[in-house]
Amino acid sequence: MSAAPETDDRVKEISPLKRALIRPELGGMVGTVAVFTLFALFAFDSGMFAPQGIMNWSIISAQFMIIAVGACLLMIAGEFDLSVGSMIGFAGMMIAVFGVVLQWPIWIAILVTFVLCSAIGAINGFIVIRTGLPSFIVTLAGLFILRGFTIYIPQTVENKTIIGGIRDAAEGDWLAPIFGGKIGQPIFQWLGDIGVIDTFQRGTRVGQPVVDGVPMLIVWAIVLIIFGHLLLTRTRFGNWIFAAGGDAEAARNSGVPVNRVKILMFMFTAFCATVFATCQVMEFGSAGADRGLLKEFEAIIAVVIGGALLTGGYGSVLGAALGALIFGVVQQGLFFAGVESSLFRVFLGVILLGAVILNTYIRRMITGER
């Protein structure tokens, strides 16, 4: 056997630049730079980049990020979950029902809700696997069923669609601050003292910095992104996620437990929705039947902007996080810039279309299709 030649003249050399560009995060990175440049130019004086402004859009972005991580991994595994938004409403309502109506300790209410919602995610996955139906349809049914219960339950037990009093119920609880608390207060106090952050000049909080800590919501977002990214790129399970979404049959032939991977990803998506709901309920102190409306689409849009293919098998958690960041910055930025907020939807549609077109182009470059 002769040694194979070092290069094949039929394989065209790809320039390092183009090679660096062929990555799922490209769209997200370009979009992030573009969005920040745009708002830095047109809304710099609006307070958007002052500490309070940054905190404002960071919180919104973090909300999107939490659900985008779950949606991203699920989409790479080749499935959708349209019940994310309803799951957020449902999970919040369950915490309120357990913690306020039934008077359970809040930590038990939170844990039971997590178990319940993950189980519902597993049921979604199980139905998709067993019936072979598109997850689109199965979770669309879930969207209506969960939303229906979210309205029915509080109306039946309390005769209203919003249950409050969660903040009182969570007083002194050990688990609630992990979702509703803040961290880093001493650092922000110090930043306030040395004048980096403005402090309140009058009122009851005089001397305290205007931004007094990082909400746990943001911490959860960062933790979930790091977890999702490492899981996807650094573990064998991550390889199985790609394989399950790329071609389930080929993956099965190679011994990948495709069903287990998909069901676990449905559960993880439900878990992320529950994290979102718990943080929201702790922040507002109440659970409402209309919480989480349309969140499933926002999650999917963030994921697609982040470079994942709707057909599965390709994508990036970091990209999805950037997609969520773009989402949050634009939504809040338009408000700061004083632009009519309905234009946000126009922007959303445009950027979604642009992202999908760019992704298709990138996929062609990767697979060499024409």
Partner: protein, 259 residues
């Protein structure tokens, strides 16, 4: 000559009232390329599925490495060292070659108390194995989608061999390929055979079979019509056996020997 690594004796497989296999026997030796020829519907697929653990034979015996074998799942057969490379269902185009190569068998290292996918090892082994097979990759992260059909088959074959296949079943690996790609795959089969792997090469192309085969078994209507050794059989005879004899012979006269 050593003992056959796998011996299938009088395998019968019935699906309800349909008799798919009516007594098929073959044996395969290590380092041999045994070609299984047959026309569409001859029972080739059913037979290899029996061999790879997908179907259980209704009657008959499978002796693997001298032991009677009962495979409950394809996984059992795989673990025993019987690997099947399917024509289409082997590779995922969007994933890199190295991720495909180790799909389902990812190497892991422990770092910070976590068990992580050892991508460094995966990339290194993939590049090595591909070079052995004469495929030059731009890099281990090159997507399988950029490879040609023949190269994909080669990746799938070398993957099976790397993971310890003793019997390699190739299900029509050349049927969808062009001339050049076919010769690449046939060359790969030859390399694998020289490493001592028993190759079962399923095809309905007599020329492809004759190019690499050591022995030839023809399947027709669920039965074996005998096994021939290389050199003892002509392409025409094989072709005739596959087609069931007469019809093609008469047709061939009118077509002037072009089939």
């Amino acid at each position: 000559m050593s003992d056959p690594i796998i011996r299938m004796m009088n395998i019968e497989k019935h699906f309800g009232a349909v008799i798919a296999l009516a007594g098929v026997s073959i044996d395969v030796f290590p380092g041999e390329c045994h070609c299984l020829l047959g026309d569409n519907g001859a029972g080739k697929s059913t037979f290899i599925k029996t061999m790879s653990g997908v179907h259980k034979p209704t009657k008959g015996e499978i002796i693997f490495e001298g032991q009677p074998m009962e495979f409950d799942t394809p996984r059992d057969a795989m673990e025993a060292g019987i690997a099947t490379v399917h024509q289409h269902l082997a590779m995922i185009p969007l994933m890199s070659v190295s991720r495909n190569f180790f799909m389902g068998n990812e190497p892991v290292t422990r770092r910070f108390g976590l068990s992580l996918f050892d991508r460094e090892k995966a990339d290194r082994v993939t590049m090595e194995e591909m070079r052995k097979m004469g495929i030059n990759l731009r890099g281990p992260d090159q997507a399988v989608g950029t490879l040609s059909g023949g190269e994909r088959q080669t990746v799938a074959i070398s993957r099976a061999v790397y993971f310890g296949a003793k019997v390699l079943i190739l299900d029509e690996p050349t049927s969808a390929l062009g001339v050049r790609q076919t010769s690449n795959v046939l060359a790969t089969i030859d390399k694998v055979r020289k490493q001592g792997v028993a190759v079962v090469f399923i095809t309905h192309n007599v020329r492809h079979a004759l190019a690499v085969g050591d022995r030839f078994t023809v399947l027709n209507r669920g039965q074996t019509l005998g096994t021939a050794v290389r050199g003892a059989v002509t392409p025409e005879e094989l072709q005739d056996m596959m087609a069931g004899g007469q019809e093609l012979a008469t047709l061939e006269g009118s077509l002037g020997g072009t089939v």
